[in-house]
Subunit: 168 residues, 2 copies
């Protein structure tokens, strides 16, 4: 017995996307309670040349839907990257989770040796499925969800690591 | 064919620990160049009640050595959590990587159904090996490495996501 590609990917992505949604809901509530313009948090960043909160959420969801689609061998759903509010970011996360729900274990499994090619501007990256999941998707996905968390935490939103990890 | 527990754990942990070491080396160099007392960065944090950089590195390494030891069924090496400099943090990361190098694939594999119990203060968490790896170790580990990165990035150290992901 060993791990299937599905077990190693979709459940954790869905769980953490749900945590991200709950964290953004707390941030929206914090803005309302403290009479902060929500866009201040949506556009907050940790350094001038880092991405703002909205972009962190966009990239995290891109990693999740890209992973599910590439491993399953189906087309990646295209989102327009136009979210400017907590409500719109919530819609994006919900659409991503729905897409992940629509991909079956059978579609994902046996993808560990599938060839995956990413074209990032000038750079072409080639992976096998397992390497893509373990050394690209998971570190990238957690990086952007954690950075979204850190942006909000740095701005005083009362969240803790339990919100990031979700309930057990 | 599917993923083994070893493939899904040790290589990515080692790769990201090496990235963390390289990021800390850049931070130490930045401190020297900019005439910043290194302890200022080692003790930097993103919010008053968040952990400082040194603690982030301690917890990230704890996650990695705890994972390798628990999945292999061997004793977890105990580190004293006394690091106060970049040099000491580098030693801790190197010791962690050396411990991971000493654990074989055979020891880790077939651990997906192993019972793992974590006692965190008042809370007792029970896992099977696969759940422990995928829903505890990996999110926690990446969370703390990313937060270390974000603390340094927020303080002006010139690093990018490529430093976090490491070379391919």
């Amino acid at each position: 017995m060993a791990l299937t590609m599905y077990e190693a990917s979709i459940p954790a992505l869905k769980k953490t996307l749900s945590s991200l949604a709950a964290i953004l809901a707390k941030a929206a509530e914090h803005a309302q309670t403290k009479k902060i313009e929500p866009a201040v948090l949506v556009n907050a960043r940790l350094f001038p040349d880092m991405f703002a909160l909205a972009r962190q959420v966009q990239i995290a969801t891109d990693q999740a839907k890209g992973c599910a689609a590439r491993l399953a061998g189906v087309e990646i759903p295209k989102f327009e990257d136009t979210e400017t509010s907590f409500e719109e970011l919530q819609v994006r996360i919900a659409k991503t989770i729905a897409f992940l729900d629509g991909v079956s274990a059978d579609q994902i499994n046996a993808s560990e040796a599938r060839d995956i090619v990413l074209q990032l501007h000038e750079t072409r990256l080639e992976f096998k499925g397992a390497d893509y999941l373990l050394n690209w998707v998971l570190p990238n996905f957690y990086f952007h969800v954690t950075t979204a968390y850190n942006i909000l935490r740095h701005n005083g939103v009362e969240i803790g690591k339990r919100d990031f990890l979700g309930s057990r």
